[in-house]
Symmetry: C2
DNA sequence: CAGTGGTCTAGACCACGGT
DNA sequence: CCGTGGTCTAGACCACTGA
């Protein structure tokens, strides 16, 4: 039970302040940067323990009061640390139940902002098909992004997304090869639209975070063929790099989408 | 001095709880929804006082301790309320100095994400020119957005933005007429690129918040002429509605930009 | 019903900013 | 130097969840 906690240390009393009531490293806790506020040191330690996979998604992490007791800090400090993690989207609180590790649902992804004008029904029918999956040498920039040495093969997927039968998005996906070998033995039909859940179920890889960029271009003949549109039509290009909890790149992808189906809204403050 | 505070009430003791130590409406304070947590009631009251312009941008709002005393709540509750306002971008704290009302700097605006490939110099030279300014009847959708009755004239501006001498963005701006009449007597040359500062200086109108949407299209002949590009080239269309602190729409604008100069990046969690 | 997070208080010291 | 926000503690009651 106590091994639920073993990890890095948060830091000794830090700052020789008079009011540091707690002998802070009694129970094998605390140590790190010192000048860092305790709630941040705690945040870092919790983030580390979350990323190394010792806690799962279905059970809550240890309760606030047990954390406070374990680390020898006050409840308020624990709450502050957890608030940070909530703000960062790493964790989510459920009153009466506990604090849970959050998986990204990618609701902030730019490809969420594709409108589907063709769908007159309320529920847009979405279908995903993986047309190709093989080991292949990625372009140098992609290989570098995945942390591969020059010339190493990666896993390549060619995927198409349809809405109400209309082809809207074409994805080119590159995966870090050593972590995703299990995927290659999976029939292509079983890699559905929830590809990140497949990564979890089949390869034990959890995407925690991603970076996306969006730009606009006109379809070359090659891209036009991918999307079954006229060359010269405007297309949206979304590139995404996905990372696990430890910050290692797992996936790089580039999506081409018809530009007339895209609208993005934000609020500025 | 006390009139710095007069405004709405936050609410009587709300919830007949035993631990409600403070006779909460002694000094003319508190009242509102009741079931609302106090820190939210306080947040609402502060937001109201900020929006009605009783406090300015150069001085801090009353200190946490004076707010706590005035409202008869604890310091922690005041801090929680202010944290909300910070999170919403309404206010910003400066340690040792005070808490200040924040003006939006629009750093989150989508038009910030225009890359300027033409500029090889480090500093992109930006120039803004207002080509036209007049009273004009806006399209019904714009008039409605500004809260005008059908057929009422608004103030229209045609503005171009250049980078290193190259025309990149064309703006069509519509302003709520009664608040911006002073603008009409200003020479067009004096409305620079910091148009929101002009609104403040010249008309006393402060933009607190805005909503933006982005979509992609191909240039019609009219738009192609605006941007001096070929018809059929891809263009970015950014529409923005700006609001004052009380939530009234001040400005509606639509910007056309060359698509090949746009790249937007986000992080997903 | 026990346990979790949510709200709230009261009061301490610290670090920073301006006078 | 004083006043501001920043960190931290200790302990209370409330509202919700799930067994």
């Amino acid at each position: 039970m106590n091994d639920l906690f073993e990890g890095r240390n948060i830091g000794p009393p830090r700052r020789e302040s008079l009011f540091s009531q707690n002998a802070v490293d009694q129970s094998g806790v605390l140590s790190s940067d010192q000048r860092l506020p305790r709630y941040l040191a705690l945040r870092d330690d919790l983030a580390y323990k979350i990323s190394d996979g010792r806690w799962n998604f279905v059970e809550p992490i240890p309760s606030e009061s047990s954390l406070a007791k374990h680390y020898g800090v006050s409840l308020g400090t624990v709450r502050r640390a957890i608030e940070e993690l909530v703000r960062e989207g790493i964790v989510e609180r459920r009153q009466g139940s506990g604090t849970y590790i959050r998986r990204s649902d990618f609701s902030g992804s730019l490809s969420h902002y594709l409108r589907f004008r063709s769908s007159h029904s309320k529920i847009a029918f979405q279908e995903c098909r993986v047309l190709d999956m093989q080991k292949k040498t990625p372009p140098p920039s992609v290989g570098e992004c995945l942390g591969l040495t020059e010339g190493t093969e990666a896993i390549f997927l060619d995927r198409k997304r349809f809405h109400d039968g209309e082809l809207l998005v074409s994805d080119e996906i590159w995966l870090e090869p050593s972590r995703f070998t299990a995927l290659l033995s999976l029939p292509r039909e079983e890699i559905g639209s929830l590809i990140y859940r497949t990564y979890e179920r089949c390869c034990g890889q959890v995407v925690a975070r991603a970076e996306e960029s969006l730009k606009v271009s006109v379809a070359s003949t090659a891209v036009a063929a991918l999307l079954e549109i006229q060359p010269g039509s405007p297309v949206i290009i979304i590139e995404r790099t996905s990372y696990d909890g430890a910050g290692h790149a797992l996936e790089w992808r580039r999506s081409y989408a018809k530009a007339d189906n895209f609208e993005y809204r934000i609020e500025i403050r």
